[in-house]
């Protein structure tokens, strides 16, 4: 049976020069803004700390959504509990700080490696079968982690662990977190781009379309899936250790809730699953929307309803997400075309 499709993106296409140029220009502008933002205190004045905070949050979600996209977008394996690694990273960073005095900024890469290791182990077990079992396992994993951390006295159980505050000048206290998160987010996007343009990415896309055919073509689907999953585990772990420190406390309910998982998924999907720019766009959008809606309506159950409703609407009517839909209509502006 012949199965072919209009591609929703062609990563190896050589982009026309205008696209590449506008994309590079946009990238440079973003980079400049990121670098200069911390220095803009005199310009912004009062709201500086708030701006730092919200941008840091956005950068964190960019990391989470982009890394989710590696397994959920490129490989098509929906992981509904990827924030489990976020939490593992948070706890690793926080616990090492409390018990050993090591700064989470230094241990973040270690957290990342640990997250990756857990990802590999879980992947080895759960990626032996096709989709459904994997998805179920990711949910179970999240709930397992939630249960374990809720009852683990070493890390404070359900009450969590309080982390010592860094003793930097109050004016600049947000900046290191911002920088660390910015680096992580940058790393995620670069990784996403690299994967998309690599043999790994090609293989993942193939198995997302039709795993049987991909296997028949000689692609080692299991290895590719595990790599993607491990990568998607490493970055949230790094982000998590920074985030825990930022919050100055660790608690299972901060990391291991389904709504965080839902947000990650939603961001990647709204932006455009399987694209590089999509999750970034989705993350920025949703963080903005959340800020506005919390300011207007206050946080409540309706938030969950709205998240779910948006997910449904996007799935039914805009399954390719913003970037994907624009691209399929050939209307994707150059600066958003990062593939």
């Amino acid at each position: 049976m012949i199965q072919s499709e209009a591609p929703d993106h062609a990563p190896l296409e050589v982009r026309p020069r205008e696209t590449r140029r506008s994309r590079t220009v946009f990238g440079l502008i973003l980079l400049a803004v990121l670098i200069l933002l911390p220095l803009s205190r005199p310009l912004i004045g009062g709201p500086f700390n708030y701006v730092m905070q919200i941008v840091t949050i956005a950068l964190m979600w960019i990391t989470l959504a982009t890394s989710w996209n590696l397994i959920g977008g490129y490989a098509g394996y929906i992981s509904l509990g990827n924030n489990v690694f976020f939490g593992i990273g948070g706890y690793v960073g926080g616990t090492l700080l409390v018990y050993q005095g090591w700064s989470p900024f230094l241990t973040a890469p270690l957290a990342g490696l640990l997250g990756m290791a857990v990802g590999v182990i879980v992947g080895l077990i759960t990626l032996r079968t096709r989709g459904p079992a994997f998805i179920i396992a990711t949910i179970a994993l999240l709930l397992m982690a939630s249960l374990v951390f809720d009852n683990w006295d070493l890390v404070g159980g359900a009450n969590g662990l309080s982390l010592p505050l860094p003793d930097w000048p109050r004016q600049w206290v947000r900046v290191p977190f911002y920088s660390a998160m910015a680096l992580t987010a940058l790393a995620s996007v670069l990784l996403s781009w690299k994967v998309a343009h690599s043999k790994l990415g090609l293989g993942l896309r193939a198995l997302a379309q039709d795993e049987t055919k991909a296997e028949v073509l000689g692609i080692n689907t299991r290895r590719y899936k595990i790599i993607a999953y491990a990568l998607s585990a490493a970055l949230p772990a790094v982000a998590g250790s920074i985030w825990g420190y930022f919050l100055t406390y660790l608690r299972p309910s901060v990391f291991f809730t389904i709504s965080i998982a839902a947000q990650m998924v939603l961001m990647a999907i709204i932006g455009g699953r399987g694209t590089v720019a999509g999750p970034v766009l989705g993350a920025v959008l949703l963080v903005g929307v959340n800020e506005v809606s919390v300011a207007q309506f206050g946080s409540s159950e309706l938030n969950i309803v709205v998240t779910g409703a948006i997910l449904l609407i996007v799935l039914l009517f805009f399954p390719l997400g913003i970037v994907g839909s624009l691209r399929s209509r050939r209307r994707l502006p150059g600066f958003l075309d990062w593939d």
Binding site: M1, I2, Q3, S4, E5, A6
Partner: protein, 241 residues
């Protein structure tokens, strides 16, 4: 004219057109064979006629009734039956249960029972294995079960996609003997077959497809002898002088 296919285009999901304006006519009570290189659209054509795939344009008329876009169960009601290429048995059901499922649209139980007996008559090996799970049969036996099941509904027209695929030569021979006998039962047969010689040997008329269109048609024995077609579509090795 039993079946009239008129300028049909069709493809899979959002992909390109596999069938590109294909037309052909089928007369009653003959056996037809469709041949052509890979990708020509042979299986796609059967799927479109059989309702498993919707045509994007064009029309299909069966007994002078517009049947484009009808579902398989609706086509079955009109006597059109399809034996696809992929194994389509119910592996956990017994041979007998599979046959019963073949007559799914038939409500009269006694009719169903008598037809099962007929199927057993045609394929004695099925009678032997009547209570065995279909998934445990050999390739050839499974193919026989598929045909037996297709016959349960007493079809007017039967479409068979690559019946000999994956079968040992002896099993394939048996299948083709059965196919040859279908017109005696009053069934018009539309066959897609990769093993060109076999296919042309059991059929009266052949359609040669390429790139989603019908290129040639003619009596099977003539097509078999035509050297031009032989080189282009049957992959006969060029002779080294």
């Amino acid at each position: 004219m039993l079946l009239h296919v008129d300028q049909v285009t069709a493809g899979y999901r959002s992909g390109p057109d596999i069938l590109q304006g294909l037309s052909l006519d089928i007369e009653e009570n003959r056996t037809y064979c469709i041949i052509g290189p890979n990708g020509a659209g042979k299986s796609t054509l059967l799927k479109v006629i059989g309702g498993l795939l919707t045509a994007r344009s064009g029309s299909i008329r069966f007994r002078d009734e517009e049947v484009t876009g009808l579902r398989p169960d609706q086509l079955l009601g009109r006597g059109v039956c399809f034996v696809p290429q992929d194994p389509s048995l119910f592996p956990k059901m017994t041979v007998r249960q599979n046959l019963v499922m073949g007559a799914f649209l038939e409500d009269d139980k006694s009719v169903v029972r008598s037809r099962i007996e007929e199927a057993f008559g045609l394929f004695p090996v099925l009678a032997e294995k009547a209570n065995q799970a279909a998934g445990t049969l050999s390739g050839g036996q499974q193919q026989m079960l598929l045909m037996g099941r297709a016959l349960m509904i007493k079809p007017t027209m039967m479409m068979i996609d690559e019946p000999s695929l994956g079968l040992a030569p002896q099993a394939a021979d048996q299948i083709f003997e059965t196919i040859a006998g279908l017109s005696d039962l009053g069934i018009t047969t539309l066959l897609v077959e990769q093993s060109v010689e076999r296919g042309l040997n059991v059929s009266d008329w052949a359609f040669v497809l390429d790139l989603g269109q019908k290129r040639f048609e003619g009596p099977s024995d003539e097509i078999l002898e035509d050297p031009r077609i032989g080189e282009l579509y049957m992959g006969k090795a060029p002779r080294i002088e």
